[in-house]
Amino acid sequence: MIQNEMISVEAITFNYPNGQTLFEDFSWKVEEGEAWVILGPSGCGKSTLLYLLAGLLSPVSGQIRIEGEKLNRPRPQTGLILQDYGLLPWATVRQNAELGLQIRGFYGPDGTHSPRQPVPKRDVTPWLDRLGISEIANQYPTHISGGQRQRTAIARTLVLNPDLLLMDEPFSSLDAPTREGLQNLTLELQLEQKLTLVVVTHSIEEAAFLGKNILLLGKPVHRQATIIQNSHPIGAEYRKSPAYHALCDDLRANLEGVSSE
């Protein structure tokens, strides 16, 4: 199978508003359909990298290409899921899930805010069913659990049929069983929808479970991409295997290495 390049980060430099440099001449590539995790401690700039990929922030120099096109603003085919607070508090689960479709309807197929080809009329109901939230479709986000909120956010993103899914600490505020359930679901959906997946996390266990490829970020400034490959077949069973624990240990050691540089 010939893979195409999905993300190409080309020699970017990015500074915090206070002037602190986060990335300097940093390059990194992601192929189509790959599952990546960006792993690093708090404050290492991993969320910033994700926002750069989402087109919500722009590098000072260098460029980011997604599917060969230079990124200047959020791209319609990229989905973004954040840890929390991503849902409209005044809208029900169903209305939240429909938000992306509504925004596309609002602009029409202009190629900037939504894809250039006319969007077929889509119904969120199958996605609500698929994610097990049709029962609570008429509830407001404050009245449902954290796991259900993230399921709503996933439904809202996937109904737009993205090819690239970016997630920023999507499960870190959830309890362990809910988190593991959603991690399994994320991998299932990634394969099923042929998504390119980039998940940002500070959790070594999550990185070892979700990432076929893991980008390690230590303390800034980041100049080179430290990458660890995970060659084991990933699935619900993998979590119990010795290979998984070995990878966790390996990641821990590596993370300490890049952090103390």
Binding site: A54, G79, D84, Y85, G86, W90, I103, Y107, T157
Partner: protein
């Protein structure tokens, strides 16, 4: 969420107030404090006379000021709430103007704008405008960046953010501002209607109390003005229940 009173509670409270009023009327035993029954009878008589017209004129003035302040203060508040730079520019001005009791401008506005409804509407508008502006601005500014980021990632530009995020987010702030200021608005309406007009409940109360010495009719005017204030208060309450179901 604040507890809402049932209609039984409200009915009992009104009854209690009427009782206190009647007892006070008996105790004072002067024409300046007629009892609720006398006032009630006068109310029925006055409803067949000029009272409805005065009521409607006052209702129009308050309602027009409210609408005018909503359509101007909400967009202004949203813009200031979204733009830190503009907010930094204007907030000292708002900081100075906001606490000034606008009612002191009544004579001034009347001198400049003269007769008619406009000066009265403008005075109430001035009060409501700042209340709504400040609440909507703070509401818009307090929206979490995560929310804005995730809606932007769905393709929303400035216009869609306004339509799908900022406007619905500011709805409770608008209604809170209206509820907080409707009492003040009616109070200022009274003051404004003391001058240069022969229409409105303020004029009606003043005329009956100080010129005609028709005290029961004066109380009818006070009652009508209270109904105006309470009516708007409940209307806003009802709107909030309808429009802000998630709260």
């Amino acid at each position: 969420m604040k507890p809402r009173s049932t209609s039984v509670d409200l009915g009992l409270t009104v009854l209690g107030l009427l009782l206190v009023w009647q007892m006070a009327a008996w105790l004072v035993n002067q024409p300046i404090l007629p009892g609720p029954i006398t006032v009630g009878i006068t109310f029925i008589q006055e409803i067949q006379g000029d009272l409805p017209e005065h009521f409607l004129v006052s209702l129009w003035r308050v309602t027009a000021s409210m609408l005018l302040s909503i359509i101007t203060a909400v967009p202004a508040g949203l813009v200031l709430g979204q733009s830190q730079r503009l907010n930094a520019l204007f907030s000292p001005l708002i900081y100075i103007l906001y606490p000034i009791p606008k009612v002191v401008f009544v004579p001034l506005v009347l001198l400049f704008l003269g007769l008619g409804d406009l000066p009265k509407i403008l005075i109430i508008f001035l009060i409501l405008f700042f209340q709504i502006l400040v609440l909507v601005r703070d509401q818009a500014a307090s929206l979490r960046p995560e929310l804005i980021f995730s809606v932007r990632s769905l393709g929303a530009g400035r216009r869609a953010l306004f339509r799908f995020v900022y406007l619905p987010a500011s709805l409770p702030a608008i209604l809170t501002a209206l509820r907080q200021s409707v009492g003040t608005a009616v109070a200022v309406l009274y003051v404004a209607e003391l001058f240069a007009t022969q229409k409105g409940l303020g004029y009606y109360i003043y005329l009956n109390g100080s010129t005609l010495f028709n005290y029961p009719a004066m109380y009818v005017g006070i009652l009508a003005m209270s109904i105006l204030g309470i009516g708007w208060y409940y209307a806003v309450d009802w709107l909030e229940k309808k429009l802000c179901k998630w709260m």
